[in-house]
């Protein structure tokens, strides 16, 4: 069966969605990704959708689910590379993906995750000081 590859990039996992997703592929990706977050102790997930020419409510729900599951496993999801026509269509469709953070491109997405990591480190240090 086809699988969407998941790459490790520093403290984050990178998923590039290029093909038209069907149900089984989407379910497999959700499962693979949650397992990989735990095994790699990743703190962030970047999903690159620049290869997608449409996002329908099925795909939108998948992105939402991935973000929710990742959050429970202490990893933040950033969706990057959304095409302008896709953004226009999503808003008209009524799907504003409020549970998902977005960045214009991969570089900015990685920076977002890096910023979260640094915030976490500061917090840990403050906790250590209290102790």
């Amino acid at each position: 069966m086809d699988r969407v590859p998941i790459l490790k990039l520093g403290n984050a996992l990178l998923v590039t969605i290029q093909v038209d997703m069907h149900d089984r592929l989407a379910t497999a990706l959700e499962e693979d990704l949650s397992a990989k977050i735990v095994s790699s102790r990743a703190k962030g997930v970047v999903i690159d959708i620049s290869g997608l020419d449409i996002v329908d409510s099925f795909m939108g729900r998948m992105l939402d689910n991935i973000a929710a599951v990742s959050r429970m496993l202490d990893a933040e999801t950033v969706v990057v590379g959304m095409r302008p026509a896709v953004a226009i269509t999503l808003v008209e469709l009524g799907l504003e993906l409020n549970g998902i953070r977005t960045a214009l491109d991969l570089e900015r997405g990685m920076k977002m995750i890096q910023a979260r990591l640094e915030e976490g480190r500061d917090r840990d240090e403050t906790l250590a000081d209290v102790e």
């Binding site: 038209d20 069907h22 449409i54 409510s57 099925f58 729900r61 008209e92 469709l93 009524g94 799907l95």
Partner: protein
């Protein structure tokens, strides 16, 4: 003008419907945003046909009205039908696991929208988008 009918029986068929509508909308000379809107609407309705109608067909027609060119899509199934169409057209209404944006979202993404449903006999949804 040309007309063709495609089956919608599996999740892979939904992908094929998207691909075919994309080709036809390019041939019709749609702008990128218009292509994205009609492909997304087609994807929502094809999924409805599959999930709620138990499968069916879509007929893709290139249409012309005066100097205007467009694309008309007719989705038909012999499923359980929709008892309360008005309610089914409300955002958030769903009888399945979706987000309930299928019908209302597809309507917003189209220039013309028509639905005819008979309980116990099936549902027909016709949308059109003009260039």
């Amino acid at each position: 003008m040309s007309s063709e009918t495609l089956p919608i029986q599996t999740s892979d068929d939904v992908v094929r419907v998207r691909q075919r509508v994309r080709q036809r909308s390019v041939e019709a000379g749609f702008s990128l945003v218009d292509q994205t809107k009609i492909i997304t609407a087609a994807s929502e309705l094809a999924r409805n046909t599959l999930d709620y109608g138990g499968g069916g067909t879509v007929t893709v027609d290139m249409v012309q009205m005066g100097s205007k060119r467009g694309l008309r899509l007719t989705f038909e199934d012999k499923g359980p039908g929709i008892a309360d169409i008005e309610r089914a057209l409300t955002d958030g209404f769903t009888s399945g696991s979706g987000l309930g944006l299928g019908l209302s979202g597809a309507k917003r993404l189209s220039n013309e929208f028509e639905i005819h449903s008979v309980v116990g006999e099936g549902t027909r949804v016709v949308i059109a988008r003009w260039k």
